[in-house]
């Protein structure tokens, strides 16, 4: 009789081992750690016959574990079934840690729901999940829902199941880490290529700028010499000489813009508070603001976190944008600068800088062109059209964003928004 019972149990155990093998194959097709964990609980209950099943991972603080997928007291699959709990608070886990054993079965122990409320007494088995070197978590089962006893065989199957899971978990984690590392590498490679391109462009621009400056210098010097020699009553000739001089200065400004581009190949990144950068920029344009009767309103959020920026270049951006705003208000107006934090994305925070004016706004038909190099509506006033293209390049190099548009009616004027990543 005893032999028949034992034989029956062996057959059942062998059957469950075969099922475990199939379950293992199924689990190996999981496309992420998240899916793997969910399938462990689903298949553990559905194919291996466990009652309640839950996964707990060892926290960064190894004294604690955190619940992953599990089954609540109503039999429903849940994610994040439990908060952080101390390992030392669970006798079974303590035994595993102390004795370095792989699994523990306890009977007649208090069973709890996911909020650790007592739900009566029953059996509870727990198996360590190993990644080959250390315990990364625990697979836990009890008989709260069906009340069927948990046997030594169940514990053995649980232990093998946890081993299978540990092996697959380790593989998936390595896979995900490799994937992330590859993505980071690709991003770094792209940035390096862009930086190398910018360096080449920069060298080219620098070389061209230098070569052009020589003939410009000759023209300007010659024009100044001629203007001294020409008789003062010949107004038309003097005017022509002045026009040549103005054209040379405009060409020189374009060359300066090219040289600015040539300096864009590298960023000198340090942690800065954008409010300070904005205040420093406003100081630089103070004279222009006072001259044109423009009010400056600052709405700077005191709690903006620091960002990694090249301070000189970002200051250049702010001054350029503020000067554009000032130039759009020849009869006076208001320049408003504000900073705020954007927490909308779960993955990343941003610091937003907004610069608005009460000027004439930007004609809709040119909004799509304003970032193009050499596009300008102020050519007769010395504009080179390089300012906004340099501004956008600097923002792009910081991994940020810039958008320019008109304020919503009935408000007049333009609005620029800059977005900087918070590290």
């Amino acid at each position: 009789m005893g032999r028949k019972v034992k034989k029956g149990r062996d057959v059942n155990f062998e059957k469950r081992l075969r099922i475990l093998h199939e379950v293992g194959n199924d689990l190996s097709r999981s496309d992420s750690i998240n899916t793997l964990c969910r399938r462990v609980v689903e298949l553990g209950r559905g194919r291996l016959g466990f009652d309640r099943l839950s996964i707990w991972f060892v926290d960064r603080d190894p004294r604690y574990i955190t619940g992953s997928y599990g089954v609540n007291e109503k039999g429903r699959l849940r994610y994040e079934i439990g908060e952080r709990v101390l390992i030392s608070g669970d006798p079974a886990m303590r035994k595993i840690c102390a004795n370095r054993t792989h699994s523990v079965l306890e009977t007649g122990v208090p069973l709890r729901d996911h909020q650790a409320n007592a739900m009566g007494f029953g059996s509870h088995a727990i198996a360590a999940i190993w990644n080959g070197k250390e315990i990364v978590g625990y697979l836990s089962t009890d008989n709260l829902l069906k009340g069927m006893p948990i046997t030594d065989h169940d514990r053995d199957v649980l232990e093998l199941f946890a081993a299978t899971f540990g092996h697959l978990y380790s593989l998936k984690k390595t896979e995900e880490e490799l994937h992330n590392a590859y993505s980071r590498l690709k991003e770094m490679q792209y940035k390096l290529i862009q930086s190398a391109k910018m360096e080449v462009v920069g060298e080219l621009a620098s070389g061209v700028a230098h070569e052009v400056k020589n003939p410009l210098g000759i023209i300007l010097g010659g024009v100044e010499y001629l203007s001294e020699k020409v008789a003062s009553k010949d107004g038309k000739v003097k005017m022509m000489i002045q026009k040549i001089s103005d054209a040379v200065m405009r060409a020189d400004n374009i060359v300066k813009g090219l040289l600015d581009f040539s300096k864009l190949s590298k960023l000198d990144l340090e942690s800065h508070n954008l409010n300070k950068v904005i205040n420093d920029s406003i100081l630089l344009i103070k004279h222009q603001v006072d001259k044109r009767n423009i009010a400056v309103v600052r709405r700077l959020n005191k709690n903006v976190p620091k960002v990694n920026i090249d301070k000189n270049k970002v200051e250049q951006v702010c001054v350029n944008l503020m000067m554009n705003a000032i130039n759009s208000m020849p009869d006076g107006g208001t320049l408003t600068v504000l900073t705020r934090v954007d927490n909308a994305s779960k993955k990343r925070r941003y610091v937003i800088v907004e610069i608005t004016d009460t000027g004439s706004g930007i004609p809709e038909e040119i909004l799509g062109k304003i970032f193009e190099p050499f596009f300008t509506t102020r050519r007769n006033n010395g504009g080179t059209g390089l300012g906004l293209s340099i501004v956008r390049t600097i923002i792009d190099m910081h991994g940020g964003k810039i958008s320019i548009g008109n304020r919503q009616a009935p408000q007049k004027g333009a609005r620029v928004m800059l977005k900087f990543k918070v590290n």
Binding site: V212, L216, G217, I218, Y225
Partner: protein, 130 residues
Amino acid sequence: MAAVRKKILILDDEKDFVLMLKARLESIGDYEVVGLTDSRDMVKCLHEFNPDVILLDIVMPVVDGLDICDILNNDSVGAVTPIIIVSGLDRESDKLKAFKAGVVDYIVKPVDQKKLIAAIDKAVKKAPGD
């Protein structure tokens, strides 16, 4: 008694620039100017003309302006003659190198006449022996 004219030596490989700058400075009346386009004539001219100040370009074939600074620093006349760089290079790194080489001022082309005159007058005043 007529004021003594200050002597200026210009070295730049751009011939038209040298001609233009020479004409401008001489037209003011306070300066006697010699212009060179070949750096190999520099040392000989330095000893014959004995300028009060040298206006020197940087980017030149064969020997650039900063190398010439080194040569002049080791010459008995060159070592006591102030050098003003007049160059199209506008980078901070170039200016830093020039000042480290011992120049007294740095003017970026195209040349602002007033700035150049002010730099020349300042350099001549500060020269040793004045």
